[in-house]
Amino acid sequence: MTWLFLPILIAAAVAAFLGGRALARRRSSGLRAHSRPGQHGALALIWTAAPALAVLLAAAVFAPGLEQQLMASGAPEAVQELEPFRRQAFYADAGAVGAGRPAAQIWPAPYAELLPAEGRRAARIDLMLSLGGWVAALLAAALGALYVFSRIRPDLRARNRVEGWIVGALFACSAVAVLTTIGIVASLVFDSTRFFASVPITEFLFGTQWSPQTAIRADQVGSTGAFGALPLFAGTFLIMLIAMTVAAPVGLFSAIYLSEYAGPAFRATVKPVLEILAGVPTVVYGFFAALTVGPAMRGFFNGVGALLAGGPLDPVGQYLMLVQNQMALVAGGVMGIMLIPFVSSLSDDIINAVPQSLRDGSYAMGATKSETVSRVLLPAALPGVAGAMLLAMSRAIGETMIVTMAAGLAARLTLNPLDTVTTVTVQIVTLLTGDQEFDSPKTLAAFGLGLTLFVVTLLLNIIAQRIVITYRQQYD
């Protein structure tokens, strides 16, 4: 409904601009004005639009609550006696009926009769509120315009004022980003404290049993659940380690090849391809891992196991024959492939940032290319490369889709890459999909895990930045 009002507001703002400009021209004709007429017009536009927008925003924020209160205050006895969530549903249906839409559910006897009347009342309240909002917004616009038109004089510093409004708008945009992040962290911390109220933090961090599926009835097996997240941390760490074992050398060496050895034509071809690879959605890597790499690896290890079974390495063979599709090696390996373009692109930028004069200096000493790379370029680029690796690690820890599809769900405290493991992110996904009850530690555990994940990746990023800042060489 509010959107209908916007064209009116835009028209008013344009009118204010034109009026302000004309007024400024007239009042400053023959005088040396501080600002040009257009700047006075812009100021008039801002003073007309900004108060109206603020009022509309306030109306949009507070109207639903107000509507609820108005509905509740005038509701018949029967509705008042309903359970809270049923009452909410009734008001929602009244609103729908009032707006001419069908009700969402079929109501029993007393409520079915009440619904049309309540619907009319809801429509009335709604109309009243939106009309009130519009009138208030128009009033605000008029007051703002009045104020600014009374101020337009040759010595009004309209130019500086407009500048101040622009700074304010830019600041507001950056504040939104920061405040949203703070809000997310705050909600994470709030829900985590609720979780840690039911599960001690030491048990969560150091417990070795993870089994959050609490039973519905108290007398069932596993009615309490176990929230020792150590197996999740171990699984996350193992998969991150495997991913970095793949991504770090391959990414770094391909970056060295691209920046130091490759010809311009090869570089011009491979760089964009790598960048495309970085844009492949992780879910695609996920089903590549789950449907292609996983079965292939299982086939390979089962085959090796079959060869070894019965021989001197019989236990190893027996174990290998039972390896499953889901294993840390598959998830970690595919995640490593996903990270190669990330590592390579970052390292490439960092190696290219090493001044050419260092290369020249080394070549002029009679060093070969590889000597120059290993003794001059890499030491010079090391802080940056270390930062890139830490960023890649933090991505590996936070990566969700590949592990969800390829790592499995068994929370096992192991460092065996052939085992099925699970990670923090996978558990958050399983805890928060499907039915949720926010009064049980089972669902709240997701927030504990999320907070832990957040803290770890935050620390990694801070360390990465510190390394880069502390060891950055002063080249210029």
Binding site: G263, P264, P355, S357, L358, R359, D360, G361, S362, Y363, A364, M365, G366, A367, T368, E371, R375, V376, P379, A380, Q473, Q474, Y475
Partner: protein, 314 residues
């Protein structure tokens, strides 16, 4: 009569080997030579008269020819940067390459240790001989050549390592030292020869990038001489330094002349006059004129040389 500015005063024909005894005019230390002083008197009388072409290496305290370039041309892609340059560079002498920006003097310098090989699409034609051996021959490994021909760049470029490691870099990659003690000796000797030892002896293991600009430039000179090169190429080594650091480097260049063949590219005519015994003037990719420094500055044969050194262009 501009050339009187560069003329050595009567009775002060001190040897150029001793810079402190060199004639000073206008605050500049001028190199002087017996023969040069003779010619200068002639030059003062007839400044623009064509002087007899001096034989290569003749006049001044110059050694035997170390590098002999014949018809050297350099192309960057389709663009020709250097046209048929033929120049003899004597040993145990400072040869200055002067000329306006973009005239090819740095390009020519880089042909002598084949640094142009590291630039894609760069092509060098002609013949450059060092001690009679063609350095562009297939049999010559540019990596080993560069160990014999050291280079110092315009901007000090110490590696992001300690002072010690910077100097030890060359000896390490070329395996010049078999023990730690030997390496220590090389580092110490090189730093001493570069005149830096006194200033850094107590902080050999602090980063080389923490030194001042002038110290960094002496550090990279120490790094270059640590591999015992025969030739040192310097590409505007003082252009990023203040006058005091410049004076130190120039003093150092004069000392190093006793052991090495030095080729220096410079934009400063005064510097060329102060430190070099031979000067070559480049313009638009061509070698215009070459000769003893005194001759070039007092009695240039070419109009363009005269215009350049008197500041009429460039």
């Amino acid at each position: 009569m501009k050339f009187k500015l560069f003329r050595a005063p009567e009775g002060r024909n001190g040897g150029p080997a001793d810079p402190t005894d060199a004639p000073r005019m206008g605050g500049q230390v001028l190199p002087a030579a017996d023969a040069a002083a003779e010619r200068q008197r002639d030059a003062a009388a007839t400044p623009l008269a064509p002087a007899p072409k001096p034989a290569v290496g003749a006049g001044g305290p110059v050694g035997a020819t170390k590098i002999c370039a014949r018809d050297v041309s350099v192309f960057y892609g389709d663009k020709q940067a250097l046209y048929d340059v033929s120049l003899d560079i004597p040993d145990k002498t400072v040869t200055a390459l002067i000329g306006p920006s973009g005239c090819g003097k740095s390009t020519f310098l880089r042909t002598m240790n084949r640094m142009n090989d590291t630039i894609p699409h760069a092509r060098v034609t002609g013949r450059i001989e060092m001690d009679g051996e063609d350095i562009n021959a297939k049999s010559v490994d540019p990596v080993l050549l560069r160990a014999r021909v050291g280079m110092v760049f315009q901007k000090p470029n110490p590696f992001p390592k300690s002072i010690y490691e910077n100097v030890a870099y060359g000896p390490r990659i070329h395996g010049l030292a078999t023990s730690k003690g030997e390496l220590d000796d090389i580092v110490q000797a090189s730093l001493k020869r570069a005149g830096l030892w006194e200033e850094v002896a107590d902080r050999l293991h602090s980063p080389g990038t923490g030194l001042s600009g002038g110290q960094q430039q002496r550090l990279v000179i120490a790094r270059a001489i640590a591999v015992e090169p025969e030739v040192i190429l310097m590409d505007e080594p003082c252009s990023a330094l203040d006058p005091i650091a410049t004076a130190k480097i120039e003093e150092l260049i004069d000392e190093l002349r006793e052991r090495y063949c030095i080729v220096i590219v410079t934009h400063s005519m005064a510097q060329a006059a102060r430190v070099s015994q031979r000067t070559a003037f480049f313009h638009l990719g061509r070698l215009v004129e070459t000769g003893d420094t005194e001759d070039i500055f007092t009695n240039p044969r070419e109009r363009r040389t005269l215009d350049y050194i008197t500041g009429r262009f460039g």
